[in-house]
Symmetry: C2
Subunit: 202 residues, 2 copies
DNA sequence: TTCACTAACTAAACATCGTTCAGGGTATGG
DNA sequence: CCATACCCTGAACGATGTTTAGTTAGTGAA
């Protein structure tokens, strides 16, 4: 009976190999360079083989996007040790933008393209995105409870903070900020975040 | 000599027909349904013909994205009549999010996908994007001059406002807001904008 | 009118993509 | 030793963007 278990293990390893290879190509060359055939080439299997392990390409990207969220969750956790909630909130904002700008291709997969399998309400697992949002929301709640920021429904405040950091990161990644050169744009990040968080203070 | 002029006119009309058809397919069925062959089908020409009028597909999308910016500029202008600069700023924010959510496929082309031809620094014309940004920046300057909002470099404030509205719109369009159903999400828009603008007040 | 020239257009082809499928191995278990 | 799973491949299908050889039609001069 060890055999079916080994088969299961082999199967999981193969799935991981495929997802990791897809992620590798994604990070190195961008999302539109990720193709079934290129993944197959790298792992030295035929394209058809991949379909023995995944329904379709979307399925692979979905798995990759879950891993990306997991890595992002780790990044979020680095602020947990900061005692002051307002400082923690600001740190989270910086960590967010920093993650997005340091892992632009990953952030692309997570937030900029239509997320894989999102149409499939049955199959899409919201738990990771909920967990990342909860990190933010919990800090916001603490800030409100301690009267450190202007009070409002915690979801409203959380959305406002999230919109700001996501908006900033995505405008930069998509190069939608006019005139100023890249150097100048990245020098704007800190002042904008400072201004945004200052405004929230009670 | 009227002939070369007629040829020029015909050429421009054909270009417009192609761009309009592309835009039509984009709005009706989304950006990944826009293909050279489908445009050719609709206007009843062969695919090859399109290449007599445009370098490549990117060129067509680039032209369509310029038109989208022009429409967006018109929407922005509707707030010009509001006398109070702070009210005007808030109205602009609402117009922005409203435009994005009412024209999601257009907004996709303008801000969510990698903008066509953006790599080609030579060929990319920044003037429309600069103009749209200037509308925001001018209002922000006036607000600062009148001491209506917390003072800072006008570009910093403008970026913060822009990031908020763009972030909010793009998170909604990309369905990245967890748990809450669509109905609930759209009910969050106004409170979030109100909270964000309240925070800016001096 | 006739001839050459130019511009507009098409059909077919190429490479690439996601995906499917018939067939060939290979290990497993009786 | 054989049958039954399973793993894998190569070729194929339809779709994509793009290029090109070749046809058609309008223009301007002889």
């Amino acid at each position: 009976m060890g055999i079916t278990q080994r088969r299961d293990r082999d199967r999981q390893e193969m799935r991981k190999l495929i997802v990791d290879t897809a992620t590798q190509i994604l990070v190195e060359e961008g999302i539109d360079q990720v193709s079934i055939r290129r993944i197959a080439d790298r792992i030295e299997y035929s394209p058809g083989t991949i379909y023995l392990y995944f329904e379709d390409k979307d399925d692979i990207l979905y798995e990759a996007h879950l891993e990306a969220f997991s890595a992002f969750l780790d990044a979020e956790m680095t602020v947990a040790a900061i005692p002051d909630p307002l400082e923690r909130l600001q740190a989270l904002g910086r960590v967010y933008v920093n993650f997005a700008l340091s892992n632009q291709r990953m952030y692309d997969l997570m937030f900029l393209i239509p997320v894989p399998r999102i149409q499939n309400k049955e199959k899409y697992d919201w738990s990771v995105s909920i967990r990342t949002y909860q990190v933010l929301r919990t800090i916001v709640e603490e800030c409100i409870a301690q009267g450190r920021i202007k009070p409002n429904h915690p979801d409203v405040v959380s959305m406002q903070v999230w919109a700001t950091v996501h908006g900033l990161a995505s405008l930069i990644i998509r190069q939608r900020i006019p005139m100023v050169d890249k150097e100048l744009v990245s020098r704007m990040v800190d002042p904008v975040l400072n201004y945004a968080f200052d405004a929230l203070k009670a």
